[in-house]
């Protein structure tokens, strides 16, 4: 059972050649990593204490995005998928990104140059 099991949606290719078991190992490793990091104040550890918890959030989300990409790319066979199917997924992700960005305007840009610029442009 431990023989390498290649990703085979279409018999003609298995690009990358990463096996399901390798992906599984990486996902477990990333889970252990993200739990371990959650016990550390990343901002202080990196010498940027003013970031504090925000640094933890960024690191936590980056790890989650990595895990997500592995699942989508290998388990969900996005590496072999047709163009239209890739487009549908890409569009859903783009809409999600637009939603999150638009929903976080009031706090994300507060106190930054973007906010000052917007105020100046509006004559406030």
């Amino acid at each position: 059972m431990s023989a390498p099991v290649h990703v085979e949606t279409h018999t003609e290719d298995h690009a990358g050649g990463i096996t399901y078991f390798e992906v599984f190992g990486l996902l477990i490793a990333l889970t252990i990593l993200t739990v371990t990091i959650s016990y550390v104040n990343v901002g202080e550890a990196l010498g940027i204490p003013q970031f504090g918890r925000a640094a933890n959030i960024i690191v936590g989300l980056v790890v989650a995005v990595c895990k997500c990409s592995l699942v989508v790319w290998v388990f969900m066979h996005m590496n072999h998928e047709t163009r239209i199917n890739r487009f549908v997924l890409g569009f859903a992700i783009a809409l999600m990104a637009i939603f999150f960005t638009a929903a976080s305007f009031d706090f994300l840009w507060l106190g930054t140059y973007v906010h000052s610029f917007a105020r100046a442009a509006l004559g406030l």
Binding site: V35, V71, I93, M96, F100
Partner: protein, 197 residues
Amino acid sequence: MSDASQHHAILSPAFHKDRRNLRALGMWLFLGSEVMFFTAFFGAYIVVRSAGAASVAMPLERMWGALNTVVLITSSLTMALAVQFSKKGDRAKTGRYLALTFLLACCFLVVKAIEYTHHFMEGNFPSHDIFMGFYFLLTGFHGLHVLGGMVAMGILWWRNRRGDFNEHYNDPIEMAGLYWHFVDLVWIFLFPALYLL
């Protein structure tokens, strides 16, 4: 050879490929709508957490969450293997891995039930505070998706046993696989968002 596999064997490989791709398109559109569904709740959670609820006490036991993450990742692996064996026409192994995926989904819900029981015994109901409200909303809808996946897994296990699938035709198993990996993906984001950050 059953009637179904004789029927599928006489059709051309191009036909099988086209049919599979169209079904996958339907599944990806459905998953796109699912992404939007969770985006709405997740977006609301982000806004609430960012807009001053930073002092929210995280009452969750992160080890339960980590355990469930491992359970769901493992179930994604067994599902991927079930799809792979169904493509090879290995009915026995397909059935075994579908059953394993079902059992792991069961484990996930048992752990979730233990957590919920703890919350309720401590008086942490959805109305306790804004965090618990979002916690029950997000994990509740995710849990319903796990339950839905288990129903699909059960039906597919039975159909696989009946001999509905073979190396030419295994679309339902592959599409259920896509759905199952999506359920795993949602948890991959819920776990850090609710338990760690």
